[in-house]
């Protein structure tokens, strides 16, 4: 078991709850960019607090941090490789009844 100094866990938990409240309140302003920041920006901060203080990655061997970072990079690579095709709305023998119905309803010039 790893022996190390423990931070004030109650304080970190309190911060996590404050951040949770902000992420819930953010969308109430109905400003898309604020919702984006309060939802995903805060999720990243919360994840950092949990990983650093509760999972003790700040005192864990660097090897573990590199291992986990590599997995996150794999995930990003998967996204970068697959997204251009998955998010494409056109293609050979593409069958999308909903999109086609909408296109048919749109007046042609």
């Amino acid at each position: 078991m790893s022996e190390h100094a423990h931070p004030n866990y109650f304080k970190i938990w309190a911060w996590l709850l404050v951040l949770l409240s902000i992420s819930v309140a953010g969308p109430m302003l109905e400003i898309p960019v604020v919702t984006l920041i309060t939802a995903f920006g805060i999720a990243i901060v919360k994840a950092y607090l949990v990983a650093r203080n509760f999972m003790h990655l700040n005192v864990e061997k660097k090897y573990v941090v590199y291992l986990l970072t590599t997995m996150v990079v794999f995930m990003l690579l998967f996204f970068a490789g697959a997204a251009p095709d998955v998010m494409n709305q056109e293609g050979d023998q593409w069958y999308k009844p909903k999109v086609e119905a909408e296109a048919a309803a749109t007046p042609h010039h």
Partner: protein
């Protein structure tokens, strides 16, 4: 008695903890792949915002609160185990289990409500992702509760106290996944 290897010399990390980190590394690509796919589809289907508007933000927020609080009791259990207080560690693990059970029960009621409103796994792409991601996460919560029960049993007798930290690391990861699922499924509407 046959000696048990406790530390890997190459990484210098205790064997059990090393195994848990590798489990988490594999979980990152499992959940990561699922969430990355969800984001791709969500960005290219604006109509999913309407489907997502039917998820209940307050229930999601309550479950986030429950998981964050259970993570607190899990890390306090680790602290107690490190101080050699197995009884206290076990007690804190029971509180963590209660958090996990609460989460699963709330999820059950939530799903029941959604299914009764006609939102099922086959309704559309959004609900398919919703039930798959939240379901896979809920399975991890249930597995964590079961393992925690086993760890608490031995910790109570002041045995195998290092396991308290190991199940704690796993539990915090389950919490971490939910931290990202919550905005994706409940906030981005």
């Amino acid at each position: 008695m046959r000696p048990i290897a406790t530390t890997r010399s190459a990484s210098g990390t205790p064997t059990g903890r090393l195994a848990v980190w590798w489990v988490i590394a594999s979980e990152i690509v499992i959940f990561g792949g699922l969430l990355a796919s969800y984001i791709m589809f969500r960005l290219s289907h604006p109509e999913w915002a309407e489907y997502a508007s039917h998820t209940n933000t307050w229930i999601g927020a309550f479950n986030t609160f429950v998981l964050l609080t259970s993570s607190l009791s899990a890390v306090l259990a680790h602290q107690a185990a490190e101080a050699g207080n197995g009884k206290k560690a076990a007690k804190l693990l029971y509180w963590t289990m209660l958090g996990g059970i609460t989460f699963a029960v709330v999820k059950g009621f939530e799903w029941n409500m959604e299914i009764s409103h006609g939102f099922t796994i086959s309704s559309n792409g959004f609900w398919s992702f919703y039930y798959t991601a939240a379901g896979l996460h809920a399975l991890h919560v249930i597995a964590g509760v079961v393992i925690m029960g086993i760890v608490a049993q031995t910790a109570k007798q002041n045995l195998e106290l290092h396991r308290v930290e190991l199940i704690g690391i796993y539990w915090h990861f389950v919490d971490l996944v939910w931290i990202f699922l919550f905005p994706l499924l409940y906030i981005a509407k």
